[in-house]
């Protein structure tokens, strides 16, 4: 359990330290490739071939970085933020569409709320008088027999 907690905390910390961690990873991968190129050169390969083979064995630098980030941080939250940014960008790009969509949603929600408010008050909620009676066990009546307190 504590292991899981530690893992979660580390992931959270990594989520807020993307830039330094990415830079460190870049440096680490660069040094990896240099080691590989050097070894290939010692095996007698030409500089280009040494580099090419080093990259082939490494197998996709960007892919490896992505895997690293997924293992390190909070990929679900990253995706969510990316989606939100994308949505905002798209809405800005098409203000007419955005305005129409917002207007229709506003009208729809407003109308639904108004209708429900009416139905709720008229049909669903008990009559105010009955409500009082049920709460105190007896109707609250003034001495002349009329209901007290208005309403």
């Amino acid at each position: 359990m504590t292991d899981r907690l530690r893992r979660a905390l580390n992931r959270l910390r990594a989520f807020f330290r993307k830039e330094p961690l990415d830079q460190e990873l870049d440096a680490e991968m660069a040094s990896h490739l240099e080691f590989a190129i050097e070894e290939n050169l010692q095996r007698g390969l030409s500089p280009e071939e040494a580099r090419r083979q080093a990259l082939v064995s490494f197998g996709g630098v960007e892919q490896a970085k992505e895997q690293h980030r997924e293992a390190r941080g909070l990929p679900a939250l990253d995706d969510l933020l990316q989606d939100i940014r994308f949505a905002i960008r798209q809405l800005r790009k098409h203000p007419g569409f955005a305005g129409t969509a917002i207007l229709i949603l506003a009208l729809g929600i407003g109308a639904s709320v108004a209708i429900f408010g009416f139905v709720d008050a008229a049909l669903l909620e008990p009559h105010p008088q009955n409500r009082r009676r049920s709460r105190r066990g007896q109707p609250v009546l003034a001495q002349d027999g009329s209901e007290s307190g208005g309403r």
């Binding site: 893992r7 990896h32 197998g59 996709g60 490896a64 895997q67």
Partner: protein
């Protein structure tokens, strides 16, 4: 050539890295990857880049520690070494994988009923 190499199963790279660090002491990412390739007799298909996801996982779990240092040929590199907790985990992993592979071996060695056992 690559087609005949074994793909790494999910979850196998982490114990391989732990074992390598346990036997070799402190190593950088390239050293670990090369070592695993050599030990496997180049029979597994290891994209060396995938080692870095494994390393960060192990590090976050506190099973390995990392430190920047200088290599024999005067190159800066991040060196990893196994921690006490990592050794414990490795012992567990080793038991698990040995059991699993022996069960797989036995199941796959089954012959049809009536055939040679």
């Amino acid at each position: 050539m690559a087609a005949s190499k074994l793909d790494l199963l999910q979850g196998t790279l982490d114990p391989m890295v732990l074992q390598t660090l346990a036997t070799m002491g402190s190593l950088h990412g390239y050293g670990i990857a090369r070592r695993i390739e050599q030990v496997s007799g180049d029979r597994i298909l290891l994209n060396q880049g995938t080692i870095y996801a494994s390393l960060v996982r192990l590090q976050q779990q506190g099973w390995i520690s990392a430190e920047w240092g200088t290599s024999d040929n005067n190159r800066k590199a991040k060196f990893y070494s196994i921690t006490k907790k990592g050794r414990k985990q490795l012992a567990k992993d080793a038991v698990y994988w040995q059991r699993l592979s022996s069960v797989m071996g036995r199941v796959l060695a089954l012959r049809e009923a009536g055939g040679k056992q």
